[in-house]
Symmetry: D2
Subunit: 254 residues, 4 copies
Amino acid sequence: VTSIDINCDAGESFGRWKLGDDDRLLAHVTSVNVACGFHAGDPATMRATVAAAHARGVSIGAHPGLPDLAGFGRREMAVPPEEIYEMVLYQVGALWGIARSQRARLSHVKPHGALYNMAARDRQAARAIAGAVHDLSPELILVGLSGSELIAEGARAGLRTLSEVFADRSYEKDGSLTSRSEPGATIEDPDRAAERAVSMALKGHVASRDGSRVAVRAETICVHGDGPRAAEIAAAVSRRLREAGVVVAAPSPR
Amino acid sequence: VTSIDINCDAGESFGRWKLGDDDRLLAHVTSVNVACGFHAGDPATMRATVAAAHARGVSIGAHPGLPDLAGFGRREMAVPPEEIYEMVLYQVGALWGIARSQRARLSHVKPHGALYNMAARDRQAARAIAGAVHDLSPELILVGLSGSELIAEGARAGLRTLSEVFADRSYEKDGSLTSRSEPGATIEDPDRAAERAVSMALKGHVASRDGSRVAVRAETICVHGDGPRAAEIAAAVSRRLREAGVVVAAPSPR
Amino acid sequence: VTSIDINCDAGESFGRWKLGDDDRLLAHVTSVNVACGFHAGDPATMRATVAAAHARGVSIGAHPGLPDLAGFGRREMAVPPEEIYEMVLYQVGALWGIARSQRARLSHVKPHGALYNMAARDRQAARAIAGAVHDLSPELILVGLSGSELIAEGARAGLRTLSEVFADRSYEKDGSLTSRSEPGATIEDPDRAAERAVSMALKGHVASRDGSRVAVRAETICVHGDGPRAAEIAAAVSRRLREAGVVVAAPSPR
Amino acid sequence: VTSIDINCDAGESFGRWKLGDDDRLLAHVTSVNVACGFHAGDPATMRATVAAAHARGVSIGAHPGLPDLAGFGRREMAVPPEEIYEMVLYQVGALWGIARSQRARLSHVKPHGALYNMAARDRQAARAIAGAVHDLSPELILVGLSGSELIAEGARAGLRTLSEVFADRSYEKDGSLTSRSEPGATIEDPDRAAERAVSMALKGHVASRDGSRVAVRAETICVHGDGPRAAEIAAAVSRRLREAGVVVAAPSPR
């Protein structure tokens, strides 16, 4: 039986500014990636997000990003690997402090935005992140783009990895995600997103923007939390996967 | 035999800006309080500071502050207790992440600047800090001003506390520190600072600015790291205490 | 004939985070106060806000705040008057740069949140703000709470001032605003807000929370932009004032 | 008679952190570039820097940077041209506010660090900066690397430009500056820096790192403020240029 995790980013509010409908999304996912304060999230938001996920039995992971609130961590920055290593330690540690006070456990780490993209293709960045996660705890699971340098470096560091696919993003034929600046980069229709999720989970491939077949390894499916129909998409993906006989669950802790 | 700890703040650089001569100071203290990024410190500085302290066998503690880089955490802010609780969890957790990667242990928490002052006199703030430290780990030691609300709330929360005195700061007759905006607030002469340290450690009192006797409980002595003669003061305090028969050491972990 | 200005805060988004429905509000006000980056607003938001106001012929003012994004400038901070003076120069100047590129004019300055409250009761803070506005340009109008120190210091500095009242906030009997932490601090019903606005504009008084009569000088009426019914309130206030024969207009430039 | 300007960056302190010996440097330069708060500088530092320069009759310019305090604006960030345009308006405006309160005039704009480098080779970034400066005031002079896109775009926008050379930095044979991560990137010896300055000013060329001759247009010479011998270098450059018959002066305002 095929098993798959559904994850979403959460805790992306900051102070007075609210973003995403975390409560509705949490009903449909099995893992959340919690923003850690560098690109979004503040201690109060982190605490509330961890509490909500913990109460629902959803797996909790850290979602470290670049230090760029104004750009929401989506602008690449020329940060050397050493500092990437350090900023991952810092952010995962901060979330650990929040989780610890609630006796909640961190299960995984998934870099955010530009850091995720840098780690997908740049081996030094990928190695820095994998090293930080390993040095924090070899029990933590590293989540990265299917086929990316991050997955390769995670495996090399001896970490358990989770290859990620996207139900609501378009792919290029080389397996990379279509840039958000291109038309059609995001998929807004819940049915279409769900159909793609099932294809990726059961067949191991998905249609790229130009119609060619892209092979993917689908161990966790991301649904974005900040689109207008995010909760609907998550619900449709979850339902259709279950209907197709897939077990929807976070990886069990070792 | 009387035993006392000597502590200093460290890791107060930020990016391109360097502050304090941590290397020289570390030779003379038994504990350091490491800035955690809200008022000073960045992940790289925190990592280097932990490494230097760990290499010397100096006890490592977190020095959480208010979120105010521009004001170095020295401006009081109307932050509700709940958010104080959360920002302490966040900052101590972040330092834990850095320390964990080096297999170094955190021994204590001491709030910084305006947060320290708020916790000295405001019971709600004190309780929030003590609660956060306790919820992170009941093994952590809470450091606060001798006679303060923070020490009282730490004890009430079941934490081990360490009452702090200042060798290089002037006292008012009510036991509070003379405000930095007053003349004579800081003591620059190493001999005079050392003499006051010995008086506080052995006799339990010190002369206030107006000459009256202030009773203090001296379990740890702070020497500031950012004055021009910081290392000299630390060296003099340490030497004079040892000459007077005092054991200079961090509290041993339980 | 009585004439009154209706103002609202605008441009309170920040990066990925959107706040307020500026477009709808702009249709009903005669002046806007544009956030300048310290508590909210970023250069792109400021530019778009100025452009929208300029296109509609709405008077544009600066809304400088405390340097506290996480707290939205609503937490009081112990900032000395000298630094308040400097941060007002900086923020008004920044907005001037944005406006200048569009050949738009700045008409007024109104401090935001905690800075507004500090300036209402603390003469030193009020004097610092009035001094900064005057040193930027004696043509700028200073907006402050009716009866406040800020209005007094603005007049003393030789500035034109505009006494502000609030249609959607409850008053205490001493003329101060009911704290947001109290029940009933904000008035959500458009009709009730409009009725209060008319009373303040034509009769010069309003009912306080305990029913006593509070005298106010109403030269500009604030409607908040971040409540759920903000645009409705603004529309109702504007309509009812006009129906009552009041001229709703920004003060004309000298 | 050849005439040349000597410029240095100034006002690069931030809050508690001091950087550079502005007072000593100001005695030897004819223009200063004042940090505007995004990569360094705060309102108080900006005000003091403007006052010191104004008192000495040194020309005052804005030194806008990327929004990256932790990286001192030296890390390239993927910021779109539109946002570069806006952040230049904001920062120059902010300094204008500070200067205006002292009745000091802004003469020029020079981007800082990574923004300077991006503007040297990326036409879109260069055009955004030139456009912002022009839209603020066509009287402002735009300073950029000799031979750069920024100089070209400044001229295209109708701005007066000033081509910059570096006395204390090594050049590559293509006219770019040797990266700071390479050995020998900075020149610490005052005599050697002065000699290079004279060659650039009078002969229009300088020796690259590999000994080849690099043609430069030297209208302003930069001496860095943050090296250990910064003031000595500035003094030597200024003295040797005068001895060689060069007029050392800022460009006169039109």
